[in-house]
């Protein structure tokens, strides 16, 4: 019995971190209205700042390429207290900069832009940490006293109890400050009514900045104090965000005390699961702990959905622009022909790059449908591709079903999971939906892709090549050519077909229903649109598209393993689609060609300098920049430019002078290709 209690108490350490990060999320949300997905990444980076000060006296900066460290003490490192003080001051400045440069400009931006910006910061910090510190795990000597404490017949490391005590103290101090002091009163007033607070002489953005700084300093403190009982590496620390979001959600993003308790409970239950796995051996042996916050988030969403999203709240926000494909058949056909000609002309390296670009574009199409057209933020689209990729292997192996029915069946499996991901969308909106989909992607990552039976673990699973009516379309054959041209043509045609169907969908009745729901759910219901069913259908369609993309990826890789579908890859897919232009098919194509890590342009750059390693940083930085400066994505300008160019060419052919063309207006009906900015 006592060992069960011991495991509960041991969980207080990580529970304290979740609780403090959760408190920071509540502070940021209450003051600035932002759910900061980068909160864990900030804690991670500050922990590196501390550990580098301690071990070699260098102060670290969040950038790459130019020297990122400055010597501030002897190489033997700095003492504990000054290191902590410097790190906390550092974190305060970092928090202030992030708020002023990124989140303040987004105060009135739609949920997608804010989610995009914070995920961009998260990816960028993650990428910077990997480049500067590698993924090698670091550990730290004790900071808090950790002598074993004798409690009720158990020896408990006392640092866990100190951490929990400090956390509770911080939580209740914040609760008291916000309830009883003038500062707390003003913060609450500013969130309720920004203009009202301004009339009383309080700048809401200054108040938000203070709160943002407090939250960041708390995150840094948590990151430092947890160091001795965990190991520091870029990934795990950043992903503390998932349980922290769970805690903040249970606290409804408003109650400090509930958030603290929820964080501690999540930590304790995770630890208890470790014990239970040794007793109940039928439990999954891997990933259960990481899946637990998902359950918390789901429960919180179901219980609190109504409170979180006041019904009929009128949103007068600017959604990302949506493309209007003019002639889908011609565009898709000519794109396929261009792709095939390119395949014929280039070396095998670039053939692979074209194939990768096309497959990534296909997965990005799913983001265009669900996030671009219907406005539902899904952070799990690449996980859906992964479900399909592994199912393709299972279906071929156990049922002996090959292409094309195997691919369709596999994509339908992704649809089943996609519906589960979409189910909360019936009741929750905007950023809350982003949180649930993030939690789902994390749970799939931890429980499903980590499951050796399902994914083959590190070895991965074999996927045989496609074969259509005796025509061998596999990427490798008897000869030595890799990739085989037949496979390249197959992929290009498949993806062009999917793009064509997405364009048909956009232009047709379904597209109008989707955009109606994105624009205004209340009004959509008033003319007979079943909003809940529309969202589910959209999630299903997007999952199917992602599933086709995942299947194609499996055919390309031949041996598919879980690394291809981690949480990071799903976030990256959203990031690059958003940067390309989330409302446009060309946005997805641009994402595949210009931004996908193995895409055409990155391959080109990779040959000039070692580009691949910077992908996460670049995706993150571009995502944040896009969210702040250009929410319609880069293809909006390209689309407008293309229209201008086309009209000039048409004029030139007719032998007329180029007319001045307002590029924001509709093109003449005869303009070929697609995408005109509006």
């Amino acid at each position: 019995m006592s060992s069960y209690i011991l495991f509960l108490l041991l969980g207080l350490g990580s529970g304290a971190v979740y609780a403090v990060l959760g408190l920071g999320l509540v502070l940021k949300y209450r003051s600035a209205g932002v759910v900061d997905f980068a909160h864990g990444a900030v804690a991670m980076f500050c922990a590196y700042v501390y550990i580098e000060l301690r071990s070699n006296g260098e102060l670290q900066f969040p950038w790459i390429l130019i020297p990122h460290q400055v010597k501030v003490a002897s190489s033997n490192g700095m003492a504990v207290i000054p290191s902590i003080v410097i790190t906390l001051v550092y974190s305060a400045i970092l928090g202030l900069l992030f708020y002023v440069l990124i989140y303040r400009p987004l105060r009135r931006a739609p949920a997608l832009a804010r989610v995009g910006a914070s995920i961009g910061v998260m990816l960028a910090l993650e990428g910077i940490a990997i480049l500067n510190y590698s993924t090698f795990a670091l550990s730290s000597p004790p900071i808090l006293p950790d002598s074993p404490l004798h409690v009720a017949g158990l020896f408990v490391p006392s640092d866990r109890l100190y951490l929990a005590g400090l956390t509770i103290l911080v939580g209740f101090t914040l609760a008291a400050v916000y309830r009883f002091t003038r500062f707390g009163l003003i913060t609450r007033a500013a969130v309720e009514n920004e203009r009202g607070a301004a009339l009383l002489g309080h700048s809401s953005s200054r108040i938000a900045a203070y709160n943002w700084v407090i939250a960041t300093v708390l995150a840094a403190a948590a990151g430092i104090l947890i160091l001795p009982i965990t190991t520091l590496n870029p990934g795990t620390y950043t992903l503390f965000i998932v349980p922290a979001l769970g805690a903040a959600l249970i606290g409804r993003f408003s109650s400090f005390s509930v958030t603290v308790i929820a964080g501690l409970v999540i930590g304790m239950l995770q630890s208890e699961l470790t014990k239970l796995q040794t007793v109940w051996t039928w439990l999954p042996q891997q990933g259960l702990q990481d899946g637990l916050p998902f359950i918390f988030i789901m429960i919180a969403m179901i219980l609190l959905a109504r409170r979180l999203t006041p019904r009929g709240a009128i949103t007068d926000v600017h959604n990302p622009a949506v493309g209007r494909p003019n002639r889908p058949a011609i565009t898709a056909g000519s794109s396929a022909i261009v792709g095939i000609i390119a395949l014929l002309l280039v070396s095998s390296e670039y053939q692979s790059a074209i194939i990768s670009s096309a497959i990534t574009a296909c997965i990005c199409f799913s983001v265009v449908v669900i996030t671009g057209y219907v406005g539902q933020i899904s952070l799990a689209q690449n996980a859906l591709a992964g479900i399909s990729a592994f199912m393709l292997s299972h279906i071929a192996q156990s049922l002996g079903i090959g292409f094309p029915f195997g691919l369709i069946l596999a994509a339908l499996c992704a649809v089943a999971v996609g519906l589960v991901i979409g189910l909360p969308a019936v009741r929750v909106r905007g950023v809350n939906l982003a949180v649930t989909t993030l939690a789902t992607a994390a749970a799939l990552d931890a429980l499903v892709f980590n499951n050796t039976w399902f994914s083959g673990g590190y070895v991965g699973r074999h996927v045989g090549g496609p074969n259509l009516l005796g025509l061998n379309l596999a990427i490798v054959g008897a000869g030595r050519t890799y990739p085989r041209l037949a496979f390249g043509i197959f992929v290009v045609i498949m993806v062009a077909l999917v793009g064509f169907l997405v364009a048909r969908l956009r232009n047709g009745r379904m597209g109008r229903i989707f955009l109606a729901v994105r624009s205004n759910e209340r009004a959509a219901a008033s003319i007979g649109v079943d909003v809940a069913r529309t969202k589910l259908v959209a999630f299903a369609i997007a999952a199917f598209i992602a599933g086709i993309g995942g299947g194609l990826l499996a055919y390309q890789e031949q041996n598919i393993n879980p690394d291809a579908f981690t949480l990071w890859t799903s976030l990256t897919i959203l990031a690059i689609t958003y940067v390309g232009g989330v409302g446009r098919i060309t946005g997805a194509v641009a994402a595949g060609a210009l931004l996908a890590s193995n895409g055409v342009v990155p391959t080109l750059l990779n040959n000039v300098f070692n580009f691949n390693q910077y992908q996460l940083v670049i995706a993150g930085v571009l995502l944040t920049l896009t969210a702040v400066a250009n929410p319609d994505g880069m293809t909006k300008e390209m689309g407008a430019g293309m229209t201008k160019l086309r009209l000039k060419i048409v004029d030139a052919v007719r032998g007329q002078k180029p007319a001045a063309v307002g590029v924001t207006e509709s093109p003449p009906a005869s303009a070929p290709k697609e995408m005109v900015g509006r």
């Binding site: 379904m510 109008r512 009004a523 219901a525 003319i527 007979g528 649109v529 509006r678």
Partner: protein, 266 residues
């Protein structure tokens, strides 16, 4: 095409109420927004519901169309109980509303705003049309709504490019494109100038000939009293009077509650 096209009014039910409300009450906590209101709307009529600001007019529309749950009472539409039905179901059955705050689909052109309302709302057939060509049937209702609201000239523009008056009309047109048998209009004249209001009144008056019964909610007395056959007056959630425009003009309670005190209001 069954429920969406209003049938010709059968002679024996011509006078029967298309909408019948009994003892409808809407309560938010302790605040009673609509207090045990009963009334009927005659098929083929233009009926008015007026009342000063805060009288509970919009709450009443919300309750009738499923946007707000009724705390008590029953509602019958075309003889069938609709209490507790969800908004999109009611819209599909022919009970369609507009919004005071317009609420258009700003990503769609004016024509598409009408089209999305006139097309059959089923998702499966919509999915089917990704793969094979669409039938053109639904466009008739959309074009009908466009011509009735005289918006054909701006049909290919997006609502954000239009004037407020035009946007109001798009809202009315979109509701008409659903081919309602009963149209609930929530303050369609708010924000329109005198000439626009008069033109709107002319159009609304013709709707019963097209098979659309109208319940017009507004606080523009001039509009309501000039085009409605029957008028009901709501004040602090209570129905204080109903009758012909002439009767309402003469009603002492109405004058006290509404006309007498609020005359200065435009």
């Amino acid at each position: 095409m069954s429920a969406s096209v209003p049938a010709a009014v059968p002679p024996d039910t011509a006078a029967a109420p298309i909408l019948e409300v009994q003892q409808l009450r809407v309560q938010y906590g302790n605040v009673v927004a609509v207090n045990d209101v009963s009334f009927g709307v005659k098929q083929g009529s233009v009926t008015g519901l007026i009342g000063p600001n805060g009288a509970g007019k919009t709450t009443m529309i919300d309750a009738l169309t499923g946007y707000t749950p009724a705390s008590h009472g029953t509602m019958h539409f075309e003889g069938q109980e609709i209490t507790g039905a969800r908004p999109h179901r009611l819209a599909r059955r022919g009970l369609v509303r507009t919004f005071q705050s317009v609420e258009l689909f700003n990503d769609l052109t004016v024509r598409e705003n009408m089209l999305v309302a006139s097309e059959p709302p089923g998702m499966l057939s919509a999915l089917g049309h990704v793969f094979w060509p669409e039938r053109r049937g639904a466009q008739e209702a959309a074009e009908w709504a466009l011509s009735l609201t005289e918006l054909a000239d701006v049909a290919d523009r997006v609502p954000t490019e239009l004037s407020h008056g035009q946007r109001k009309l798009v809202g009315v047109g979109r509701a008409l494109a659903r081919r309602p048998s009963l149209l609930l209009l929530d303050e369609p004249a708010a924000g329109l100038d005198t000439e626009e209001t008069r033109a709107l009144g002319e159009r609304l008056r013709t709707l019963p000939q097209n098979g659309v019964t109208v319940l017009l909610i507004d606080h523009d007395m001039g509009l309501v009293l000039s085009i409605c056959e029957r008028v009901m007056v709501l004040d602090f959630g209570n129905l204080i009077a109903q009758g012909t425009p002439a009767e309402i003009r003469a009603d002492q309670k109405v004058i006290e509650a509404y006309l007498g005190t609020e005359r200065g209001e435009p």
